[in-house]
Structure formats: structure tokens, C-alpha cells
Amino acid sequence: MIVRELELDLDAFEGPFDLLLTLVLKDELELRDVDVAAIVLAFVERLAARDQLDLDACGEFLVLISALLELKARGLFPEEAAELAELEPEAAAEELARRLAEYRRMKEAAAWLRERLEAEGDRFFRVGPAPLAPKVEPQLAPQDPERLAAALRLLAVPPPEVSLAHMALRFPPVSQFLERFRAVLRRRTLFDFDQEVGELPRIEQAVALLALLELRRSGEIAIEQAAPFAPIRISRTDVEREASWTLRSA
């Protein structure tokens, strides 16, 4: 007989024993909902169905079920577990006996009530709020209506407008850079593009490049770049012309 394959049909679980263990170890099944006594009963029934006593199976079952019981006990009495561990065996037995007695008395009380219920089975009477009634709504603590109003007023205030300014691409006019470069070229005959616009945001650098191309198209400047990614050098064309003229006349 294989203990792990013991089929169980409990309130909280239905299936083989090893699946129950797996679910418990994975915390997917609350051990406190599991009636361990019912597992023991199922095992004993299986055992009784066979004529032979299977000691291996009994041993394995005892180990598993005691581990399960310990886990459950720890789960049910988290603080008391530590307290009990410190008890002397005598005192622990005393405590256990006290608890067993308490449970036995309640079981007896339940049996008494059951008998009573059966004896009173032929008493019919009218009941007020129907049994199996829907649950009563929990009552709320008294509240100040003004507080609710204040909370609502707070909700009614329109939220502050969120600024999208940072999201818009704002292009400065090309003319701004045309003026700027012309001014620079009036002072100097030659300048370096990166040095002039390096401090500006990328968008403005792009507009500056457009301005540069515009100046090139109108023949006001010459653009030079020794190699890809090398500094772009800008010079006034009239200076260039002067230079070539000087060279030719020389």
C-alpha cells in the first residue's frame, strides 16, 4: 500500500495524500482547514480493508501525519507554541489534558444539544427575521456630515492644468540665426560652427544649421569641413574672394 496515493475526501480537500502535502508545503492549502483526524480515519479504513498489516506503510504514514500535525499545531497556536516548548513534560501533559478535557466537554455539550434538537423537532413556531437571511450590513460609526461635504468639495475642485510646455518642439525662427551669423561675420571673417552654437539645445542647433545653409545658398558664406564630424568652419565669401584675388595678383 502506498501512503502517498491514499485517496482523501475531506471538506477542505479531495485527492491523493501527496497532493495535499504538496499544497500544504506550497502554502496553497490552509492546514488549519484540514481535519487531520479525517485523514487518519481514511488511512485506518484503507488499512482495515486489507487483511495484512503493512508496517512500512504505517511507519511512513505516522511520520507524515505527525509532521502535518506539528505544522498545524504551530499554525494554530503561533505564540503558545513557544510557551509550550518551555514547559516541563509534566506541565505539558497537564496542559494537553486540560485542553482535551475542554474539547471533550464541548463535544458532550454538542451531543446534548443534538439530542435536544431531535426532541424538539415537533415544535413549530413563527420566526421573525427569517433564518438563512442575508447578512446584516455592518453599522458604521456615526460620522460628521460636514466632513463628508468637505471631502466632496475637495473632489469637486477642478485639478490644476497640467503644463505640456516641455513636450512641444519650439523652433526659433531661422531669421534669428541669419542675423546672428551675419553679425558674427561682420566682426570676424571666420568662425567655428560648433563653438558658436555648441551651448544651444539640439533643436536650435538644427535651426542654426538651416540658417547656415540659407547663407550658403545666397553665396554669403563658404562652408568647410575637413572630414566627417570634424569642426565646420564658416568664412565670409568676400574675404575668400579677396584672398584668391590677392593670391592671383601676387
Binding site: Y103, M106, L113, E120, D122, F124, V127, A130, P131, A133
Partner: protein, 200 residues
């Protein structure tokens, strides 16, 4: 002249008895004497006397309606003779199919209440959530505040319906716990015997 008049005067409590009869018919739960007295605008002692009159009139075997003292008050119920017919008319949902777990749980609440779910779980060794939910739904137990600290566990107590369903005048009619077995001495001796056998 006086004698014939006294004969037709009848019992001076008759009028009060009629009023109480009416109150009990409209009530959906047992009414305590004080409540009857207040509604009838009469003296509690006279109400008790009138209830005595009614009890005689509505007793088992004499009437289809029986007056009984139950759940701390007075109420009408059907006579036991009519039980079969009543059962054909309607079932009794409050006590239908009460599981062993529910019986033990309601016993714990009746004796120890107000008590919390952890209290019940500690005694029974199994979580009491579903038994408590079922008893709440049946109206046999009800919430009775929370444990002291804020967010403390909800406490439960049994309801007047519990007393009525189990035919109890009050919870004091339950047998004393000490009389219910579960002798600590005996259990301890047995534990020791088992322990000795194991170590032997």
C-alpha cells in the same frame, strides 16, 4: 341583586389576557413580561397572572396553539399534535442539516460566548470559519462586538432564536459544563498510561 352581576362579570383579567393574546399573535419573537406590560400599559404582575390564564387555555392537548415560555419570553407555537402537518407546510431552515462542526461550534459559543473564531478554533483544533458563517446565516449566533483592541477579532454569542430552536427558556437551562464529562484527572491518567507504555 349583587350575586347575578358577579356571575356575568367574569374574570377581571380577561380583558388584559385578550390584549396579551393579541400582542403574542403579532410578535415574531418571544416577548418578555416587561415588554408585554409596557405594550399593554398594565402592571407586570397582572400580566404574569393573565399569562397564567392564557397558559391554561393554550396548553398542549387543549389547543392547536400552545403558549410557551422560551428564550427569555413568552410566545405561541404550534401544538405537537400538528407537527406533521406543519412539517408538510414548511421546513425548519434554522436547524436543517446542522453539521457536527456547527453543533460543536454553537455549543462553544453558547457556553463561552461572547467568544471569537480563534477561541473556537483553539478548542476544536480546526478553523471555525465555515461553521461560524453557517450559524450566522441560520441566525443561531450573532456578532457581539469586538475584542478590546481596535481591529480585535469579532465576538459571537447565541441568539434568542438559538434558545427557541433548542427549546430553552434561557442559556441557564444548558447542563453545567462540569457535569459533561471531560474529566481532566481521567484524561491525564490515560495520557500518563500511554506515555509509560511507550517508554517501557
Amino acid at each position: 341583586m349583587d350575586a347575578p352581576l358577579r356571575l356575568i362579570a367574569g374574570n377581571p383579567l380577561d380583558q388584559l389576557a385578550k390584549t396579551i393574546e393579541a400582542l403574542l399573535v403579532v410578535a415574531s419573537a418571544p416577548l418578555p413580561v416587561e415588554e408585554l406590560a409596557e405594550a399593554a400599559a398594565d402592571d407586570p404582575e397582572r400580566v404574569e397572572a393573565a399569562l397564567g390564564l392564557l397558559g391554561e387555555r393554550y396548553r398542549e392537548g387543549r389547543s392547536g396553539v400552545v403558549l410557551e415560555k422560551v428564550a427569555g419570553g413568552w410566545a405561541f407555537r404550534a401544538s405537537r399534535e400538528a407537527a406533521e402537518a406543519c412539517a408538510r407546510l414548511f421546513e425548519k431552515p434554522a436547524q436543517r442539516g446542522l453539521s457536527q462542526a456547527a453543533m460543536e461550534t454553537v455549543a462553544i459559543v453558547a457556553y463561552l460566548g461572547p467568544c471569537t473564531r480563534p477561541d473556537i478554533a483553539r478548542i476544536r483544533g480546526v478553523a471555525a470559519d465555515s461553521a461560524v458563517a453557517s450559524l450566522l446565516e441560520r441566525g443561531l449566533i450573532a456578532e457581539a462586538g469586538r475584542e478590546d483592541a481596535a481591529g480585535g477579532a469579532i465576538r459571537y454569542r447565541t441568539t434568542p432564536l438559538f434558545e427557541r430552536v433548542f427549546g430553552l427558556e434561557s442559556l441557564s437551562e444548558l447542563p453545567r459544563l462540569d457535569d459533561l464529562g471531560g474529566d481532566v484527572e481521567e484524561i491525564r491518567d490515560r495520557l500518563h498510561a500511554v506515555a509509560e507504555k511507550r517508554t517501557a
